[in-house]
Each structure stands twice: as C-alpha cells, then as structure tokens.
C-alpha cells in the first residue's frame, strides 16, 4: 500500500496530486484497480481506508470544492489502472503533467504577491457591474490623459461621525455646493436633516494656487464649524480638518495641492 509512504511529493504535486487523488477516489471501487505502491504516492495516510468517497472530484482550477477536501480521496495509483497497465498508457492526469512539464512561460515574474493581488482585485470588484463576468485584473491599462469623462476629483470628504459614517464624497475642481439634496455637487445625503438641503456651505478648489477654501453660507440658519471654530467667512482647508454640519462630522482629505494637480499631467504628458 502506498499510503504509508507519505512522501514529500504530496505537497509538491500541487493540484495535479490532489486531482489524481480525486480521480482515483471517484473510480477505484468500480474499476477494482489494484492498490499497490507507486513511486510517488502522495495521498494522506488514511487514503486507502475502505469507505467510498462521495465527494465529487472538482476541477481544480475553478470548481467549488477546496483542495483539502479532495485530499481525503483514495490512492493515487497512476499506474494502477488495469487498462493502463495493459496499454502502458499514461493516465489523463499523468499525461497532462508530462505535457505541461514543470515550466510555464512567464514573460515577467509570474507569481503574484498575495496581499497586493487581493487589494488590487478588491478595487476592481468595487467597480465591476457584474463580478461574474470575465474581467481582467492584471495587465497594463492604456492611459489616456487630458480629457475627462467626469469632473476630476481633487479631494474627498469622509464621514467620520453621524449618519453615513464610513462613507465619502468626492470634492471636484472649482466650486462645490454642500447640502443634503442630491442636486448638490457634494450631497451629504445620509439622512441628517439638520443639514440644509441646498448650499449649506461650499468648498472651492482653485487650481491656480492649488488651495482649498471652505465657505459657509451665512444665509442658512444651520451652523457649520471647521475645527471647532465657527467661520463667518472663507477659511482655508488643510488635510484632516474636521467639518461639522448638523449631526455629521466630515474630515477633509485633499488629493490635489502642492504635490499634485491635474494640470501637471495634462500639460506635460497629455
């Protein structure tokens, strides 16, 4: 019995090893193939114990069952099939392994950092309208500059307290009206009715001096504050300033400023 060997090849074989196990598990009882030791038996110790394995052997690449389940499968006797013994042919999995070889052509270093890949993929998922569609996460995207399909973002307001906590709103170039209504350029529409529906305040970004200004609308009765002060006129905003309107706390995060402005790439590389 090969199952006692527990050779180190069990891990190295990757999915082919587990596939082979699964294939054997699926067919061994019917085929009555002899279970003798083979050179690289890579099943776990309990593999050949009697009971038939019900688990369907999944396609390793994309089916649902995880590999560990498959590994409880039966013996991986690649040469054990009676048919195979007669015809001296390779099993499907062995033939596959032989033709695949070990090398895969990789124009660049193929392996992907787990963390990097995951985070990048999650960004893509957020944008995908239908995640089950075939999409590409990797590879270079053609970069077109100089023309925008939508207003370029210059910063963000992040809701850190009150209704909508955790959400964010983009701040665009030019003048941005802030209010509860969806018609506002920065709609704070999370259900805080202590915010005026329209033009409670403005945030202006001026790309010529790359500064952000917060301008309260003094015609509104609701009061706004920036860093606990109650401005009666325009105040300059800097990173991580806290704006309170109604029962909502917002933190300002600039994207453009001294280090970057859209005009840079539009002028230089556009």
């Amino acid at each position: 019995m090969g199952q006692d060997q527990k050779s180190s090849s069990g891990q190295r074989a990757g999915f082919l090893g587990t596939l082979k196990d699964a294939l054997a598990a699926a067919s061994r009882d019917e085929s009555g193939r002899p279970k003798h030791a083979v050179d690289d038996a890579d099943e776990p110790t309990q593999a050949a114990l009697g009971e038939p394995i019900q688990l369907p052997p999944p396609l390793p690449a994309a089916s649902d069952a995880p590999k560990d389940d498959v590994q409880i499968g039966g013996p991986s006797d690649e040469s054990a099939s009676p048919v195979a013994a007669k015809t001296i042919g390779l099993s499907a999995a062995d033939a596959a392994r032989e033709a695949r070889g070990t090398a895969v052509v990789t124009p660049e270093t193929a392996h992907i950092e787990q963390v990097a890949e995951t985070s990048r993929a999650s960004v893509m998922v957020a944008k995908a309208e239908d995640p089950t569609r075939t999409q590409l996460v990797r590879g270079k995207v053609e970069v077109a500059r100089g023309q925008f399909d939508c207003d370029p973002v210059v910063g963000w307001l992040v809701v850190v307290g009150g209704p909508g906590i955790g959400a964010f709103r983009p701040v665009y170039e030019g003048n941005n009206s802030i209010g509860r209504a969806l018609t506002q350029r920065i709609p704070i529409d999370f259900g805080d009715d202590a915010i005026s529906s329209e033009e409670q305040a403005y945030i202006r970004y001026d790309s010529s001096d790359r500064s952000f200004l917060f301008v309260p609308n003094l015609a509104k009765t609701n009061v706004v504050s920036v860093n606990n002060a109650r401005p009666t006129g325009a105040v300059e905003l800097s990173a991580m300033d806290v704006i309170v309107m109604g029962r909502t706390q917002l933190v300002f995060v600039p994207f453009c400023g001294g280090d970057f402005d859209w005009s840079e790439i539009a002028e230089n590389k556009g």
Partner: protein, 267 residues
C-alpha cells in the same frame, strides 16, 4: 494512425451577449466559419481555438471573434514546429486586438482569453492565456491540461494557507477575474505545452469557456464517458445540454469544442 473528429456547441447562458468564439480548421480545409454543432469527419490534423471575450457591450464578442479568426489564419499559413506556430499565432492574435483598439479607441479595454490547440500526428500541443479550461478525457478520467490564469488558484491558495476560509474562497467573485488575457498589451502570463501530449485511441480533448465550470468534474467525466462512443459532436452536445439543464440564473456563456482521437487503422 490517429484521426480526429470534432464537435462544437455553445450556449449563451443567462447573459445578454454571447462573448465566446471558437474556430476549427482541419488540415488545409478551413472550417473556421463552421456553424455550431457541426460534426467533423476524421482528420489527420486539426487546429482548434476557443476564446472567451470580455469588455463592454460588443467589445467582448468582437475580441474573441478577431482572436479566433486571426489565430486560425496565421497558424494555417505557417510552416515549421507546431509550438512555434502556436506562439506566432497567439502573438498575431494579440496584435490584431491592439490594431483594432488603435483604430477604434472606443474598444479600449476589450480582450479575451484564448486556448489554441493543435492536433497532429505527434499529439496535442497548446497555448493558453486566461482561464478557459483545456481538458483531457482518458479512460473515464478528466484532467486539466492548461494553467488557470484566473484568481481562483490564488484564492484556493489563500484558503489553504488559512488566510481566508474555504467558504470565502469558494464564493469570492474574484474567482472569475483574470491575471492575464489577450488585450493587445504585453501578455502577462502564457501557458504552453512543454512537449506534445501523445493521444490514445478513445481520448477526448475538450476546449471550453469557463461557463462549463457549472458542471462538476465528475459530471463532465460521466457525460463524456456516456457519449464517448457516439463521437465528438454528441459529447459537445451533451455537455452544453447539461450546462443548460442546470438553469443557473447567472450562467455565463459556455462553449465547448470536443475533439476525439480515433485509431482509424483499427476500425
């Protein structure tokens, strides 16, 4: 001597568009425009290509069509080692996409997987980019021949390492996302056979788009076994019927090209 017959079937699934394409050429006799469901007589040589397109409304369907046509065309027009012809055809297909996008930037972002397979007297050789599975059926068992360039193997690896649960890996929508595809840009990952896989009488090689993953491998084995004697067209038909019978509300496009190897000197 082994000869090959083939069958091709497709289903649109629950999608608005059919973005898969497939083409087959037998010897010099172009069957690239063959209709789905066509059977093939015994051919000494075949080249088959299948592509699963992506990218917007018509982009995906267009990309997979361009890739299949270009691949078949270039492969048929060249002499030399099969492995080299496969690579040259892949490169040409990729360049065809780049050219199309350059001519019409609206199509930017379209792309496709590809699995291109050559059947000759030496055996089966392939080149593959993306996650369209290439399966070998032999004596009741199915094995995956090409490498999966989707995130599914990465997710499974994360699950194995205990960083996510198996349940999360199984249902993660990122399973379908690709690490490499034919987009006209440099190809990130290419899987190619290292040497020809020698076929035996009765073997089936199946090119599929990932919509076939609706079926468990055991079910695929069962179906091919059951229809093996009826020929490649029957096998292709059975696989697609079975995918349709699952009635998955999110069923992706599914296309299969089944190729049977038959020893014609025996029969």
């Amino acid at each position: 001597m082994l000869a090959f017959d083939y069958g091709r079937r497709a289903t649109q699934g629950a999608r608005e568009y059919q973005e898969d394409s497939a083409a087959i050429r037998a010897g010099s006799d172009a069957a690239a425009s063959a209709e789905p469901g066509d059977g093939g007589a015994d051919h000494p040589e075949l080249v088959a290509v299948l592509a699963d397109g992506m990218g917007g409304h018509t982009g995906g369907a267009l990309a997979s069509k361009i890739i299949c046509e270009k691949f078949i065309d270039v492969f048929g027009g060249r002499e030399g080692a099969v492995a080299e012809r496969l690579m040259v055809s892949l490169t040409a297909a990729n360049e065809a996409i780049a050219g199309k996008i350059a001519a019409d930037p609206v199509l930017s972002g379209m792309g496709s997987t590809i699995v291109g397979v050559a059947f000759t007297g030496n055996g089966v050789e392939w080149v593959s980019v993306g996650d369209s599975p290439l399966l070998l059926f032999r004596r009741g068992e199915v094995a995956l021949l090409n490498e999966d360039h989707s995130l599914a193997p990465e997710l499974d690896r994360l699950a194995e390492a205990g960083q996510i649960t198996r349940e999360q890996a199984r249902h993660d929508p990122r399973r379908h996302m690709l690490r490499s595809a034919v987009t006209g840009e440099e190809l990130d990952l290419i899987d190619q056979s290292v040497k020809p896989l020698v076929l035996e009488h009765g073997d089936y090689v199946v090119l599929a788009s990932d919509g076939l993953h609706t079926l468990e491998t055991s079910e695929i084995e069962r179906l091919i076994s059951a229809y093996a004697d009826d020929g490649a067209d029957a096998v292709a038909g059975a696989l697609i019927r079975s995918v349709e019978a699952m009635r998955d509300p999110h069923q992706d496009n599914a296309t299969v090209v089944a190729v049977r190897a038959r020893d014609v000197t025996q029969s």
